[in-house]
C-alpha cells in the first residue's frame, strides 16, 4: 500500500513488477477510509469493520470494484 505522485508512475511501478494495475484511490478517498477504520481505534468499544461494513464503506467512498470485496475469491 503505497503513495504515488501520478497515475503514470503507478503504471510504471506495476509494469516493472509484471503485476496488474489496481483501482486508484485519491488522497481524499484514502482519508475517508482511514477515518472509517481508525477514528475509534483507541476507544474501548473499537472494532475492525466486518465484511458487510467494509463493503458499505468502500461503496460510500466510491470504490465499487470487486477488488475491494473482502470475501471474493476472484483474486485467489
Amino acid at each position: 500500500m503505497l503513495f504515488f505522485r501520478s497515475e503514470d508512475l503507478v503504471k510504471a511501478w506495476c509494469q516493472a513488477r509484471g503485476v496488474p494495475l489496481r483501482p486508484l484511490v485519491t488522497i481524499a478517498q484514502l482519508w475517508e477510509l482511514a477515518v472509517a477504520w481508525y477514528a475509534s481505534r483507541l476507544a474501548p468499544d473499537a472494532r475492525r469493520p466486518g465484511p458487510h461494513e467494509m463493503r458499505r464503506i468502500f461503496a460510500r467512498v466510491g470504490l465499487h470494484d470487486p477488488f475491494w470485496d473482502p470475501q471474493t475469491d476472484a483474486f485467489c
Binding site: 503505497l2 508512475l9 503507478v10 511501478w13 483507541l42 471474493t72
Partner: protein, 146 residues
C-alpha cells in the same frame, strides 16, 4: 471491561503516548497480570486481526495503524514521530489520534518525497494517489507484504 479489551487499550495507548510498541513486561506490569496472560491475549488479538505479532509471539509488529518497526511512512504529530505500516495507515494515525499531523513518505516508483499536512478534518488537497496491489480478500494472508 474484559481483559482483552483492557490489554488492547494498554497497547494502543502505549503506542499513542510513546510512538513505540510496548514490551510484554510493560503490558503485564500495567495490567498487573502474568507474562503468560499477556502472551495468550496477544494470540487471541492476533486471531481477531487486532495485532500482528513477530514469530516470537510476544513482540508487536503492528497494532494498525501503528507500526512497531521503522517504515518509510513517518507521521509527525506535535513533537512525536510515529511509523505507519503503509500509506493507508499513515493517514490512519492522525485519524486515530484526532490530531493535526504531517505525513512524510515518498512515491513508490520515483522516490519523490511526499509531505502531506493532515488536519482533524482531513488532508490538504493533493494530487497524489494511493495504490494497493493486494486484493482486500487477501490482506491478512500476509499483512506485512500487503
Amino acid at each position: 471491561m474484559d481483559f482483552d479489551t483492557k490489554l488492547r487499550l494498554a497497547v494502543y495507548r502505549h503506542f499513542a503516548n510513546t510512538t513505540r510498541a510496548p514490551l510484554l513486561a510493560q503490558v503485564a506490569a500495567q495490567l498487573a497480570c502474568s507474562l503468560e496472560d499477556v502472551r495468550l491475549a496477544y494470540g487471541r488479538l492476533r486471531a481477531n486481526r487486532v495485532l500482528l505479532l513477530e514469530p516470537d509471539g510476544e513482540t508487536i509488529r503492528m497494532a494498525p495503524p501503528f507500526s512497531g518497526v521503522p517504515t518509510q511512512h513517518e507521521v509527525e504529530v506535535g513533537r512525536q514521530t510515529y511509523f505507519a505500516n503503509c500509506a493507508w495507515d499513515a493517514l490512519g494515525i492522525p485519524a486515530a489520534l484526532h490530531q493535526d499531523a504531517v505525513v512524510h513518505s515518498s512515491c513508490g516508483q520515483s522516490g519523490a518525497p511526499l509531505s502531506l499536512h493532515v488536519g482533524t478534518a482531513g488532508p490538504e488537497p493533493s494530487q497524489w494517489l494511493f495504490h494497493c496491489q493486494v486484493p482486500a480478500a487477501r490482506w491478512w494472508v500476509d499483512l506485512v507484504f500487503t
